[in-house]
Amino acid sequence: MSTANVTPSSSPTVMKLADLVAGQSLPATPPYVMSDEERHEIEHCLHHYDDNRAASIDALKIVQKKHGWVPDAAIAKIGELIGIPAADVEGVATFYNLIFRRPVGRNVIKICDSISCYLTGYDEVREAISAHLRINLGQTTADNRFTLLPICCLGACDKGPVAMINDDTVVNLSPETIPALLEQYK
C-alpha cells in the first residue's frame, strides 16, 4: 500500500535462503561516499534540534535531492553521521512516502487521489496520464523520464483535479491538457 514502493528500474540483489544455509556471506555493498556538500548540509541540520535523531528525515531528503532516491549504502552512512542505528534510519526511510528507496524517473508526478479530486475527475486525469506515458501508478517510463505516484490530498481542493510534478503544483487538470503539460518536463 505504501506509495514509497516504486517499481525498480534495476533489480536489487536477491539473497536466497539456500545461499545463507550454504554459509555464503552477504554480498558486500560498497560503502556510500558522501559528498562534503551533503555532509555539511546534514551537520547544519543538527543545530535545529535538541537531539540528533531528529535530523534523520532531513538527512534522507538531502541524499535524495542529490540522487533522486536514497541508495542502500547511504542508510548506514546517515546512521553513522547522526549517531543512530542504520535500522532506525531504514525504518524512517520506509515509513514516509516522500522518501524513495528505489530509483525514480527524472520527473516524479504525484497525483492526488483524495475525495475532492476524485469528485472532480481524478479517474479521467489518471487514465489520460497512464495512456500518454504507458505506465500505471507506481511505475517509471522506459526512458526514465517520468514516475507516476499517487498522493493524498494536496490542499488545493478548490482547484481539483490536482497533481504535483516535481516541485510544481498543477491544478484544474483535464485529460485534454495532459499531453501539453507533460511536454514541459524533459
Binding site: 535538541d50 524512517v92 522518501i99 475532492s116 490530498c153 490542499g155 488545493a156 481542493c157 503544483t169
Partner: protein, 437 residues
C-alpha cells in the same frame, strides 16, 4: 485600499486582511505598517505570560485543526517553570492533509508573518524555548515564504535571544515533513519531529506534560494560532463579537467549498455561518445543473450530512448535535451523479493506505473495509457485507484502535450506510441470482 478600510478589514476579517489574490505576501516592513508585530510588543512589554493565556481562554478560541479543543485551555495545561524547568516547545501543526482541506496553505503562503507573529505571542504565553512549524513537505511555496519571514523577524529582534529585552528567548524553525497523513495526529507529529516513524503515542501523558523529547509541548493548528495576535491587540470581547451572534464560539472561521460547486474557494466568515450561506451564496451553489446529494462538513473524517442539514450553523457544537463534526470547516459537496458506494470506497482507500500500521484494528480493519467496498462497487457484494461494514464501525469506534485515525475513517462510512443504505443494498441484489444458483 485606504488606511481606514485596511484597519476595518483587520477588525472584521483578521485572518485574511493582509491577503490579496495575486499579490506577493507582505514583507516585515509592510506587515508592520499594517499593524503587524504590535501584539508582540504589547504581550512582551505589558502582559505576563499568564495574561496572554487568559485572554485566549476568555476569547473562547477553539482549535481550528478539527477537534475544537479550546486553545487557551491547552496552553494552561503546561506546567509552571518552577514545576518543570528547562526546555519546553511550541509546535505549529502545519501538516495540512485532511482531504478537502486547503485553508492553512493560504495563510502560510500569503501572509507568513501572521503565523510567525502568532507563534511568538503563543511561545511567550507558554514560555517556549524553541518553536517548530511542522510543515508538510509538499508545501514548497509556504516553506519559502515562512523561511523568508523568519529571517526578517530574526533580524528585527522578534526572535532569538532576549526578545525585545524581555529576558525571554525563543528560536523558530520550519521543519518540513516527508509525507503521511498520520503526522497530523499530534503525538504522531511529535514522534515524526523527533526523527522517528510517525506512530501515535499513548495518552496520558498529554504533550503539555511530556511531549517533544519528553518536555512540555503545545501543538496548535495554523489557523488557531493566527488568531492570537488579534486577541492580544483587540481583546477577548472583540473576538467573541466576531461571531455576530451566530455561535457560542468566538471569532471568524475560514470556510471553503470543494467538489462540483460553481465557485469553489475559501472565505473568512463569522463562525457559525450556515452551510447554506457558504454553499449557495459564496460558492454559488452546485454547477452544471447538478444537485447536492450529501456533504462532508470538514474533511474525510467527518460524517456525511444531507441537503436538509444545510441550515445548520457551522460551529463545533451545532454540527456535533446533528451527528457529525465540523472538523476543519471546509465543505466537500457530493453531487447527484455520484454513487455513494464509490465515494466511500475512495475515502476508505485513503484511510487504509494512510494507516500507520501500529495497531491491529486499524491496520487490518481498514483494508478489509476497503476491499469489501471495492467488491460491492463491482456488483460483487455478498449478503452479510453491509452487516460486516456495520460491525467494522463498532470494532473501530473510538477507544478500540490506538488513536483517532480509524474512528475517523468510520465516520463517513457509518453515515453513508445510514443515509444511503439502498445504494449499498443494490450492489448485493445484482449478485443474488448467482448466489442462489
Amino acid at each position: 485600499m485606504t488606511a481606514t478600510s485596511q484597519s476595518n478589514l483587520a477588525e472584521t476579517k483578521p485572518l485574511t486582511a493582509n491577503i490579496v489574490a495575486g499579490r506577493a505576501p507582505l514583507n516585515l516592513k509592510e506587515y508592520s505598517a499594517a499593524g503587524g508585530y504590535r501584539a508582540v510588543r504589547k504581550a512582551l512589554k505589558e502582559m505576563a505570560p499568564g495574561d496572554v493565556t487568559k485572554a485566549v481562554k476568555d476569547a473562547n478560541l477553539r482549535g481550528r485543526g478539527g477537534a475544537g479543543f479550546p486553545t487557551g485551555v491547552k496552553w494552561g495545561l503546561v506546567p509552571s517553570l518552577e514545576k518543570s524547568p528547562g526546555s519546553r516547545y511550541l509546535v505549529c501543526n502545519a501538516d495540512e492533509m485532511e482531504p478537502g482541506t486547503f485553508k492553512d496553505r493560504l495563510l502560510m503562503e500569503s501572509d507568513p508573518h501572521s503565523l510567525v507573529e502568532a507563534m511568538i505571542v503563543a511561545g511567550y504565553a507558554i514560555q517556549a524555548t524553541r518553536a517548530y512549524i511542522f510543515l508538510r513537505g509538499e508545501y514548497i511555496e509556504a516553506a519559502k515564504n515562512l523561511n523568508a519571514a523568519i529571517a526578517e523577524a530574526n533580524a528585527a529582534g522578534f526572535l532569538g535571544k532576549d526578545i525585545l529585552g524581555s529576558g525571554w528567548s525563543m528560536d523558530l524553525h520550519v521543519h518540513t515533513g516527508a509525507g503521511r497523513y498520520i503526522c497530523g495526529e499530534e503525538t504522531a507529529l511529535i514522534n515524526s519531529l523527533e526523527g522517528r516513524r510517525a506512530n501515535p503515542r499513548a495518552k496520558p501523558p498529554f504533550p503539555a506534560i511530556a511531549g517533544l523529547w519528553g518536555k512540555p509541548t503545545v501543538v496548535n493548528n495554523v489557523e488557531s494560532l493566527c488568531n492570537v495576535q488579534h486577541i492580544v491587540n483587540n481583546g477577548s470581547a472583540w473576538f467573541l463579537g466576531l461571531n455576530q451572534g451566530k455561535s457560542k464560539d468566538g471569532g471568524t472561521k475560514l470556510y471553503g467549498v470543494s467538489g462540483r460547486a460553481r465557485k469553489t474557494g475559501l472565505w473568512e466568515l463569522p463562525i457559525g455561518t450556515t452551510a447554506r450561506e457558504i454553499l449557495e451564496v459564496h460558492a454559488g451553489g452546485m454547477k452544471d445543473g447538478l444537485k447536492l446529494k450529501a456533504w462532508l462538513p470538514g474533511g474525510a473524517s467527518t460524517d456525511f450530512l444531507m441537503p436538509e442539514h444545510l441550515d445548520l450553523a457551522m460551529d463545533f457544537d451545532t454540527i456535533a448535535k446533528a451527528g457529525s463534526r465540523m472538523g476543519t470547516g471546509l465543505l466537500t459537496v457530493v453531487d447527484d451523479r455520484q454513487n455513494m458506494v464509490s465515494v466511500v470506497r475512495n475515502l476508505e482507500d485513503f484511510f487504509a493506505r494512510e494507516s500507520c500500521g501500529w495497531c491491529t484494528p486499524c491496520r487490518d480493519g481498514l483494508p478489509w473495509t476497503y476491499k469489501t467496498l471495492v467488491a460491492m462497487e463491482r456488483g460483487e457484494g455478498r449478503p452479510g457485507d453491509i452487516e460486516m461494514l456495520e460491525k467494522m464501525t463498532r470494532f473501530l469506534a473510538p477507544g478500540r484502535p490506538f488513536c483517532a485515525h480509524a474512528p475517523g475513517a468510520m465516520e463517513p462510512l457509518q453515515s453513508a450506510l445510514k443515509f444511503f443504505r439502498g445504494e449499498f443494498e443494490a450492489t448485493i441484489r445484482k449478485q443474488s441470482p448467482q448466489v442462489a444458483a
